[in-house]
Symmetry: D2
Subunit: 380 residues, 4 copies
């Protein structure tokens, strides 16, 4: 019989759904010592909260996250709020001795993140940040291929995260649906929301970033604010691109925007090594493209690996070769790893400390966009 892990979830939006689904499904597919229990959901709007709790089977609700943290029957706090609340909740939870699973990005900036790291490390509580794309099987496979040395010396890294949903100027900023467009709630625009994903993957696959030069742009300068009801200046970055050098000597380009017509959530990365190269694309997340220079020259080409066989990362838990999984499974994998590591007394990457490194890169990027200089990334 699995040991129970009582979850208290804060924030019932898109991410609240994704995490709840992961908790509910993980034990159907993974054999684990622990089983999460949906103990309590927490949000300010009680009506929405009740509907959410009903739909997902939460045993109870709280409208104040401080009350949630005080409860003895909660083992772990899952933070799905807008970014501006991460720090306060996380530090309180750590002080209350709760494990913490925090949505990305870790924090509004590196200074906040530093405080959060100190809190969880002082409290000695398990902590992890939901950079879910590490656990797309094709991305995990990329990590494996790199770790096996199949690429050799790395020359280039390039990543983009392209969307097009804010092109219309009648999209409001702020409020429940669009807090990601409100600097006060989100901290930054595409940098913290989208590039943070690209950076997290890059640090994981290719090591630390040394320095960056960046540019940002706000294409639509004013939008109706959903909270004030007034047209207000837009303060988040609509687009951001930067050049970078990694510690391993490789060069990189990164770019993100919400103004790339035709792309919904096109996160792609490519890594060029001495012996082999890798490409991945979130729009076909079940495939990995791989070029191996070691192939006989007459049959050498980019391979499209359909990452569905049972010897692929995580895929022995799902269906049969050829049958693809989707977006939400990455969260199931994250929970499965978290529970497995818990049983083994291990941390689950990315920890707060791991995720802090991404914040340092984001800070350097945003600073460079202002100074128009190369900026060095501090060590996390």
């Amino acid at each position: 019989m699995a040991k129970k892990l009582n979850i208290g979830l804060v924030g019932c939006g898109f991410m609240g759904r994704a995490h709840s689904n992961a908790y509910r499904r993980v034990n159907n597919f993974f054999d684990l010592e622990y089983a999460p229990v949906l103990k309590a959901a927490c949000a300010r709007d009680e009506e929405n909260l009740k509907a959410f709790a009903d739909q997902w089977g939460y045993e109870s609700i709280e409208t104040d996250w401080r009350r949630l943290i005080e409860r003895d029957d909660i083992d772990a706090i899952d933070i799905c709020t807008p970014n501006n609340l991460h720090k306060e909740i996380a530090i309180a939870a750590a002080e209350a001795g709760k494990m913490i699973l925090c949505e990305k990005p870790l924090s509004m900036n590196a200074a906040e993140g530093e405080e959060m790291c100190q809190a969880v490390e002082k409290a000695g509580v398990a902590n992890t940040v939901w950079y879910n794309y590490r656990r797309v099987p094709a991305v995990t496979l990329a990590k494996q291929l790199i770790d096996e040395g199949r690429l050799g010396r790395i020359f280039h890294y390039r990543a983009v995260f392209l969307q097009d949903w804010t092109i219309a100027d009648d999209v409001p900023q702020g409020g429940e649906s669009n807090w990601r467009l409100d600097a006060a709630a989100a901290g930054s625009g595409v940098t913290g929301d989208l590039l943070a994903h690209c950076i997290d993957t890059a640090l994981w696959l290719n090591g630390s970033i040394k320095d960056v030069t960046a540019m940002t742009e706000i294409f639509i300068k004013e939008r109706m604010h959903a909270l004030s009801g007034k047209v207000e200046p837009v303060n988040i970055d609509d687009a951001c691109a930067f050049l970078a050098r990694f510690d391993n000597g490789s060069l990189a380009t990164f770019e993100s925007t919400r103004y790339a017509r035709g792309h919904k959530a096109l996160y792609t990365f490519e890594i060029n090594g001495e012996h082999a190269s890798i490409q991945w694309d979130l729009h076909d997340l079940h495939r990995l493209n791989y070029f191996d220079h070691g192939d006989d020259s007459i049959i050498r080409g980019w391979r499209s690996i359909h990452v569905t066989d049972s010897d692929m990362p995580y895929m022995d838990k799902w269906w049969v070769p050829g049958l693809q999984i989707g977006y939400e499974h990455t969260f199931v994998h994250h929970v499965a790893d978290f529970l497995d590591n818990l049983a083994k007394g291990q941390s689950t990457s990315p920890t707060f400390r791991d995720a802090l490194e991404t914040q340092y890169v984001c800070d350097a990027v945003l600073k460079s966009a202002e100074t128009r200089q190369w900026e060095t990334v501090p060590n996390a």
Copy 2:
């Protein structure tokens, strides 16, 4: 509060998992009057059965499907057994007044299917067959585009279902894992297992098939039988291809094999109409390719539609544009439609009667492979 629908599942293999997952998830994502309850799971091997019931949260178990059918607390029987048991279970369930959700193919042959149809129709019980690929959003979209008349007169239909898992001659036939290779349990090989999917979709999208000419082949003539422990002749078709004419005057080619190296579960179809054409591919099931001759000539080309926006069939229930779903969601959609239709007093296609038409085509195909003649498909 949703009304409960008590499910009794027979067969705890691959399909038992897929259906159980669908029942467990459907109410998290769809707003429905009914909620399925995993009341009882049934299989012969008690040890496996218990593990299965534990993993999926079934309230009880039965090792004899007749006992399951007798239980008053069961509303619907879900048949996930090998094909040779479909008829007997379905008829008994119908006579006991149970709703029936039966895995595809409906039956070993059309004669059996005819009896099953008569049983459910006489009993007046809700019935459906799990041809799940109809409910891939991209396939449902194809149906919608055709029904809107966007393709115009149809000239051609072509479909293949290609796999490669039986190429090695040390794959045994029969037993729990490989009953699909045993004619006694499966009825036929790729015709009933794979082409049945292609035919079901084709009948749905393009109407009835008039006649066919076919060929089949057994590439590996003998395999160890898992039950007898002896090398025995293989009696199922390893490969089958046929030509067909539809009632609407269009021509078709169909092919299926388990000897197409490089393809895991490559079900593809293409439809060529007067004005537009459509292509779909199970290996990238979240995309639909569409060619519209009405486009301006200088910007005319095949479009790759990433079927993830909320105006796409079923997709308002899942995530956000760009984030793909996978194989298992097709079963969730089927359950959702079944429950919704139940509330409305409507039948859920494909019904047994709908699925019988596929059996008639399969029978004609297998007969033609023997007679080497064109065979007419009887009306279902």
Copy 3:
């Protein structure tokens, strides 16, 4: 200094251009003992002929092919006329001791082709048929991979040639532009025009075809005839599909149509072998897709080989890796091989005799479409 080979070209349409271009370019790119000379062009319409001869630099013209054949200064006759003239011209040319390069298909039917073979063989003149797709570098590479045994035992072959240019019912039949729609000039429709290509490649790559079952269709039953000016019945096949068995035990499907909306000249083939599979597509003719089951399982996938490196067939003659060639180069390759073989005293495949085998398959296909029976292909 290269030896001159004086060419007399009959027929100044599309193929006349393609061949003329090949003759003019071959010595710029290939080092050969022979150099073709554009000695004379021949066609009935003198005005068009003069313009054509001017544009391509022919030294002289003839309006009667019999006069051309009589000329002592002509070494080789190139036949680019509609199909119904192939036999008469070829036999006369052979009797006059001329080499012959004949457009495909060889003849209206196998009986004619048999006569033509006997004529060239009796005369002992060099002869070849322009099945140009054999000499797409990617297709030649496919042949090489098969000959090296990389695919192992072959299970499946499938080919289609899809076009959409005759969907409109106001396309006339007959005349200079549309003789391919006129049975009297073309012999058959897609079977001789398009499937003949597919069959030629298939025989080359996979050996002889044993028997076939086929269906054909005429979607638009009547069209204006360009010669008579009257609406007349259409007698060519608009579409043709057939099943086949090869002598090596593999199964095949073939299909061709001019009613596949969205496809201009989509000739594709796929071969599934025990160890590896191959795909090719005329719309991206510079690529070959290859799946090798021998790859490590975690990096196994379909490879897209960009056939532009200098170790690829013919590609050392052209540009540098990554820079693609196109359709017309296949004719240059054919001429280069012809001239090279001439110097070595070797025949250039496909010879008339090789091409006759395709005629036998076409005849069997067309007969089967009438008899609705499997038809055996006679030995060529």
Copy 4:
């Protein structure tokens, strides 16, 4: 009868072949008032030169380009030498009143280019630079779609030119084959060789670039020099990436390298506009990808336009829909346009002055890589 234009070609390497082929073919396919005549080829190595002249049918040879320019029977000088000779030859040719067709990049740097522009403008001679990718039909189509306003306001431009041929450290620098690796002959590495193409296209499609920030890298620091026979420092940039802002407010990323394993000549660009987006890729140069937000939402997706129909730029001159052309045709198109413009008394873009703008961007990029600052691009 076409008027003759006598060509004197300087440099018999890869580009000499590409241009010679273009001159020889253009009148076979295009109806023009002028016909180029291969009057003289010029190079220092007489043996190679003779072989080259023989193969391409040049009427005469010169081993000193000054002699070539002095000849009265030469109308136009085509410069295919290494970059370090462009200026001197071009200025001398202009002073001698010759038309000039100069390979790209125009010059070693903008200062040289400025002198060259002044020379041709003072002399009033026709001049053009062979940025051939403008005349890939798909790229010309992109220009047309932009000029028609189909994209609307432009937000983003991104381009890469990726190769992998210099990864091995035993590739020498300098000499006939590898002068592109020798800074003394080439001026720069990938910036002048590859990014110059990307910049030329970008300026044409998207207008002027305002400022840039760049980084460059030399991955292999020393190579054998083919001329000195000694290992010498490498002074060209192996890789270069830069961020840019266009005058129209759009943001851009550019990157080029010869260390991207798996890419031979992967020049790609993408443009994201308010209403539509465009992608192109040199590895499949006959296709243009296009996304039109104006499509009905349920059939909206990236279209792959197979740019082979006769209403596509230049394509009425070649074959029939579906049959692709290749790399070398871009040069034929350039010559055709040059001859056509000559007849009309018009200049042929890119002129020296147009190409100078690319030099200013290259200079700013290389400077920024040194200063690690944003650099403003001067007006050309």
